[in-house]
Symmetry: D2
Subunit: 159 residues, 4 copies
């Protein structure tokens, strides 16, 4: 396990506030179940509204929480004046996400001043047993001097 | 524009039925706005419940419809006894998805017996003007002799 | 075809000089066969030393020229004081690269101040007929005020 | 560390023979420095012919050995009658590959009957110190009843 240097003592509270502002997380029923330096966990209970045609969690839900877990992992290591943006991610769906709960665990691989590379593993819990169902590798950008709060947002957030 | 050979005259109806079975598409308010051989378009109107922290469409919504547009594009070229599965995709988010409607247009790049490679471009419509905000490149697997209908599903859909 | 704005009249000469400085391009026998704003083509004739175990072009050669075609496409749109760096790319190998010549054609999808997204298609020519064998989607970074020439290089090229 | 089930006692020898048949590996000066179930290491000493314009290892060399380390990791778990093919990979270049040796370490994440997902980390060694410079996530296909030897190759290796 790598030890990361934090640049903001308030990192966990910042991630929680940002997560709470994402309407889509509430809509999915997702919650932030762990926040640590360079590491974030997001959990979603199953609901038929989150399903694809076979009745499993839709790949879009898997991708959404994988991306978010990677992005917020990166955000834990940023400065108080920074905001975070997903540049890109790649997701491998490796097994059907058939179960009662979906858990994404994000981890920073390499933090950088401008770009941070993170991964996330996604597990589906079925009858209490976790099974790795997807893995994500992504690139996240630091937006310097950009508020994460939409009320004070900088309309031009991309260079 | 490539001309594709279809193996199922009923391809459009099959895509529509599969799409209708995905609880998550209804939940997002997504609709299938075009289906042609090797090509599918999916549209989602904005709603605050689909937003990220800056008030734009959440990247998870962008990824979901990009993946689905790529997957269903691939599905249009498959045989009546086949089902489709996303193996993996990569998404580049290129501009804020700030607007009233999100549109994903999927296209097959290369169909194959087992694997089909497709891309999707995602546009955000703001004041009636389309702007490319993301692009997806993905790999989709043909599941032979597998029903797309959960009532008759094969529980072991991955090899 | 998109029309791109160039920020450096000397763009083609700059790409040629940079390409010529890459020892690896000469080693592979690769040449720059086209340079236009937002667009670059790289060609490599077959040689047994470039093969994988089945006697086709090695995927590493395919990936190398796809990445380079995408990177140099991005570089054509940068300012005279900028250098370019590959952040990441994803490559789909879609058909065996069995033939006498390999051609990568890169195109910018979206230029940005810091990040440019480009794609490249790779074709293998067999008996004079081109066949699409791979496609690449990548992210390239602008390094401001960084020489592309190693004699004057900034040792800390990544943030 | 996951324990993998091998289906071929001769896995290490098979990987070594296949590697030896790849003209491109010899051309790069690459060697196979470790082979274990689900795990392969490839090493390349620096040479000016392997450089990009700043004098570091070219990203193409990084991508080549990352792809190969992932592919051969997957191959260690396949049956004696199987061959392996790269479907796709994504590579993040995270630091300049400035050093005397490049090492790619591949590991299987999830083996499957048809598709195996593997990753590889690439390290550059400078003054004896290893530094993570890139990471790869890829999908590799099992080609059943297909010889890995070109003298007996099946000309139609892709479905």
């Amino acid at each position: 396990m790598t030890n990361f240097t934090i640049r903001n003592e308030d990192y966990a509270e910042r991630v929680r506030r940002s997560f709470a502002r994402q309407g889509f997380m509430g809509f999915l029923g997702a919650s932030l179940t762990d926040v640590a330096p360079g590491r974030v966990e997001i959990t979603v209970p199953f609901d038929a509204q989150l399903a694809q045609q076979h009745g499993y969690f839709h790949g879009g839900v898997v991708g959404t929480i994988a991306d978010n877990a990677g992005g917020y992992s990166s955000f834990t290591l940023m400065a108080p004046s920074d905001s975070v943006l997903t540049v890109e991610y790649k997701l491998n769906l490796m097994a059907p996400s058939d179960g009662e709960t979906l858990i994404a665990r994000g981890t920073v691989i390499r933090p950088g001043r401008r770009l941070t590379v993170s991964r996330a593993d996604v597990f589906v819990v079925r009858n209490g047993v976790e099974n790795l169902c997807a893995t994500m590798l992504g690139t996240f950008m630091t937006l310097e001097n950009t508020s994460d709060d939409p009320a004070r947002r900088n309309p031009s957030i991309r260079g």
